[in-house]
Amino acid sequence: MAEFIDLVLLAMLALTALRIIFLKDLFAVVMLFGIYSFLSALIFVNLDAVDVAFTEASVGAGISTVLMLGTLALTGRKEKPSTHSTLLPLFVVLVTGAALIYGTLDMPPFGDPDNPVHQHVAPRYIEESPKEVGLPNMVTSVLASYRGFDTLGETVVVFSALIGVFSLLGVRRKQKKDLDSGLESHRVLHVVAKVIIPLVILFALYVQFHGDFGPGGGFQAGVIAAAAFILYALVFGLPKAFAVVGPKFLQWMAAFGVLLYASVGLYSMYKGGHFLDYNQLAADPVAGQHYGIIIIELGVGFTVFAVMLNIFYAFGSQAERSNVQ
């Protein structure tokens, strides 16, 4: 049954990708990209990658699509016909495709339990991580505890993305004459958004702290909370959203998240362990792991929330600036 579903979903995905190639209306391209991300998240669910599906659905389908729509609001909808012929790209693509497919022929068969990939490193983590780190969700324990240093680097990458977008775009200060943009004419959306936003934030907090036992964690929680505020900014307009959570406050919050993460590492060094070695954090090593993972997931949640919301502010204020002139 699962293989059949896998086949059908992958076929749908291939069709969506094909359709994206031949579309000229960029709005339709971005919307089909939204479906593409949803479908790939669905395939990840089917391939037992539950955390990855969570992230792909919230980050891939949510934030990417909203940012692309924001860009399209500035750069226009229609793609002008390209002058050069499509024969050469097609030829290059077909040759590389054939080479790659020839390469996949001697890969191990899909889903076979005694594939080499499952023999060397994975059994150690599948057996040891529930005992050493004490979390049912092995993905979170590997992500936060064994690979804690990499996740710190990844949080810094997200933080530097904020710096990059801000150095390029910058957020417009709130002028007096700001028109009250947002979907004013949609009264129903105003009422429903007011009802939904607390629910979404509550769910984000649940995801944040549920990361140890089920799918979830800092990244997904940060993105979902940012999505709640993005919904607020979309429906009630940016000036009101700036009043609720300003870009200045978010910059501090992003920095604070990375600082919190690194200070956990320094504290465990101060207690005599290595950098980011959570065993020193508490008397009992497994309890120390729990504290360490909860705190760094909180740090990651702060940073990702602040960065995603601030990037949306930067794009949103550009769209409004071009409309005000």
Partner: protein, 110 residues
């Protein structure tokens, strides 16, 4: 125990029926506003029935709470989304089928 299974499978099958009818309506209806009607009505009823069917499977634990949350959330958002879409389409100047075909407009107005 068997009774619960029977009721939940009835609900699920009814949910499928409405979902499929909505999909057929979405595909065959002539213009946008009829399609919005077809899609959103069956979306809501199919969601209620299928999630209701699944609710009977759970033994009143965390999953039941999650399913009730999903049901409430879908009941609030999916009609709102369809309303906002139809209003935005109308606002954007999309005409209904009757408006686009002037010749059968007279018999509408008599």
């Amino acid at each position: 125990m068997l009774f619960l299974d029977i009721v939940s499978s009835i609900l699920l099958l009814a949910g499928i029926f409405f979902g499929l009818s909505g999909a057929v309506g979405l595909f065959r209806f002539p213009d946008f506003f009829t399609r919005v009607h077809a899609a959103s009505v069956t979306d809501s009823i199919a969601a209620i029935l299928i999630i209701g069917g699944l609710l009977l499977q759970t033994s009143f634990d965390l999953n039941t709470a999650k399913l009730v949350f999903i049901l409430l959330f879908l009941m609030v958002t999916s009609p709102t989304a369809s309303h906002a879409l139809a209003k935005s389409a109308r606002h954007g100047g999309l005409l209904t089928l009757a408006e686009t075909r002037p010749e059968d407009k007279q018999e509408h107005t008599q």
